[in-house]
């Protein structure tokens, strides 16, 4: 039986837009493997868009968050608005002096970061969990055209010379707030964009519209591997 997003109780806000795509299990949910038409790998290298909303992510904030995360084996960026890739492919984004955002790795289908969300206990230490998987959708804009695509939506200079690998920007794109991180997957240039989950349908459309002049289209996970 082929997978269907509604078989899972955890659902991406965008799952209906991938109705005809081939799906793959991802943690307690699923992700698009491919759309089954054209060379998605080439598309991803040029201008592709992937919905990663079902991949685990979680935030922590508070005076004790840095120590908490370090104790759990994470390396933390030294300054705000920087990201640091972990050995297992997870990413730690530093959002402010005392706030961190963990992005799950495709290598373990987000298992480690998902575990962080489950393991956290509310106690007296100033380390507060932020439900980023639920508050934000996660889109991945891949390929060499990414800066030009984003220039149509966003006032921050995202060209590689101004926004090198590991940079994080909290800004506005297509008139909604977004978090953008430049975190390539291997050789593939990738902007990871987190936007308000409730605005995901709107933002997905705005991105595809901006990608159109570059021939950009959605891609599945297979194209990244």
């Amino acid at each position: 039986m082929s997978l269907h997003a509604e078989h899972f109780s955890e659902r991406s806000p965008l799952y209906r837009l991938h109705q005809d795509a081939q799906l793959n299990a991802l943690g307690d949910s699923c992700i698009v493997s491919n759309y089954g038409a054209g060379d998605e790998r080439a598309r991803a290298a040029h201008c592709g868009l992937l919905d990663l909303s079902n991949l685990a992510r979680v935030g922590f904030r508070g005076a004790a968050s840095a120590a908490y995360l370090e104790a759990r084996g994470y390396q933390l960026p030294a300054v705000p608005n920087q990201a640091l890739s972990q050995a297992d492919g997870s990413q730690v984004l530093r959002m402010s002096q005392a706030e961190y955002l963990l992005l799950g790795s495709l290598q373990d289908t987000g298992a480690r970061v998902r575990q962080e969300e489950l393991a956290w206990q509310f106690d007296d230490t100033p380390n507060y969990l932020l439900p980023r998987q639920d508050s934000h959708a996660w889109l991945l804009l891949s390929g060499t055209c990414q800066a030009e695509v984003m220039a149509k939506l966003c006032g921050v200079d995202l060209r590689a010379e101004a926004f090198p690998v590991g940079s994080v920007a909290q800004t506005s794109a297509a008139r909604i707030n977004v978090i953008i991180a430049n975190l390539p997957l291997g050789e593939l240039p990738c902007l990871h964009i987190l936007c308000d989950r409730a605005s995901a349908d709107y933002f997905w459309g705005a991105l595809l519209d901006a990608m159109q002049e570059f021939g950009g289209q959605p891609v599945g996970l297979d194209a990244l591997r």
């Binding site: 705000p80 608005n81 959002m95 402010s96 006032g155 921050v156 920007a169 909290q170 800004t171 506005s172 707030n177 977004v178 978090i179």
Partner: protein, 100 residues
């Protein structure tokens, strides 16, 4: 469009920010006169010169302070409010205030 240097996010288009009014010390609401309170709530000096203002970076919900010249619109400095608000503020019942 003007660029605002955000202490957290660096220089950004000013459309990414929300103005939060002038930094204006609140009088002790328990002891001040009605006139003093009304002056604080309703009046603004609107003077030409360097003023300190609240600004918030929308995407990060980060509040900071900016020194801006209202004549030239030049932003001279932006900084974290911790520079001004160095410690916890507490309010006390007016009766205690009178006694102390």
């Amino acid at each position: 469009m003007k660029i605002m240097p955000c202490p957290l996010n660096g220089p950004r288009n000013i459309s990414e920010f929300t103005y939060g009014g002038e930094l204006n010390a609140m009088p002790d609401s328990a002891t001040c006169t009605d006139a003093e309170w009304a002056d604080y709530v309703f009046n603004c000096e609107n003077r030409v010169g360097v003023v300190t203002e609240w600004w918030m970076h929308n995407a990060s919900s980060y509040w900071f302070l900016a020194e801006r010249h209202t004549g030239s619109d030049e932003i001279l400095r932006t900084f974290d409010p911790k520079e001004v608000f160095t410690q916890r503020v507490d309010f006390h019942a007016p009766a205690q205030e009178v006694r102390s």
